[in-house]
Amino acid sequence: MAENNVSVMDRVREAGRAVITGVDEKDIAHWVEISIMGKAYKVPADLTIMQAIEYAGYRLVRSCGCRAGFCGACATVYRKKGEYKLKSAMACQTRVEDGMYLVQIPFSPAEKPLPDIRKDPYESSVLLRYFPEIARCVSCNTCTKSCPQDLQVMDYVQAALKGDFKAVAEGSFECIQCGLCALRCPAEIVQYHMAQFARRMYGKHGSPKEKNAEKRIGELKRGKFDKEFERVMALSLNELKTIYTEQQKAREVY
């Protein structure tokens, strides 16, 4: 719907331009040609894939999240002109390159069974019970090749078959659950859900207990901090604001 004779798409385009606010297009020296879902665009070379998509006028309602390489929403699959290799990247963390043919994959359909942390036994059979398809792994390494985080996915799937929860947990620690591995797997394994399951089991049964946390919980239960809690809860809103502001001033500015 048009407001003040400016269309929605104009406003979107302007919002995309904000990425290079203060820079005149005439002053941009380096441009690249990319293709977004089959349509060609010329974009400034310094942009990330996500910025380039927005520069081209798209408003992202999916495939967009934290913009900081952490949430796994902006999984992008691409090929480069003249190459057959299929590559993957996180759109918010990767610069565009000339000849990129790209598409975004916002979602990977996969069921996520939840372990019963208290009841399920801490052994390899539990992983196979919830994810029997891991027995179908052919060690083709496609999952590893698909991972935008450069994780050794095949290795942690193999560790699951060996019942090594620790290796699964450590190997999958930096997984951002983008789902690309599961989409490309010929054995239809859902690597990232299996890994999360394993991490939860490992956290409960395998990893060393955090002694300081246990100590603190004990102190809390014994009421060591009760007085302090009561004091803070009794403060007025203005008193809280004063304390907070003073605290912030005392901190270093990052």
């Binding site: 059979s125 196979l128 029997p132």
Partner: protein
Amino acid sequence: MIKKIAITSENVDFLEKISKLSDQVITKCDQCGTCSGSCPMVGEMDITPAQLMRMVLLGQEEVMDSKAMWICASCFACTVRCPRGLDVSRVAEALRQITLRQAVDHIDLNDIPDCEMKRLPQIALVSAGRKFTG
């Protein structure tokens, strides 16, 4: 029981397809029945290994409806004993793969009851996955 069949080019195509996939010269089979005699699973099968070979030889696609290929345990007893040097287990595999490659699995791994999943060793699931799922 006598069954009259006419061999058409479709039958020949089926025979050639299975021959190529199994890399066996199936026409060498002389129906001696040694494979059937050696098979440990023959008691469970609806048709014997020799009958399976016969149906493939005549290009009868109805062999795909039989259960025998799924009951095969890939033990290679037939393979080592066939006097014509045919690898019957590979013919069974070729027939299984025709179905599996159409994304039609023979078992659903999720159907295995929990009590079984707690007992079964990995090796059973890996090998069953290989032979019964595509």
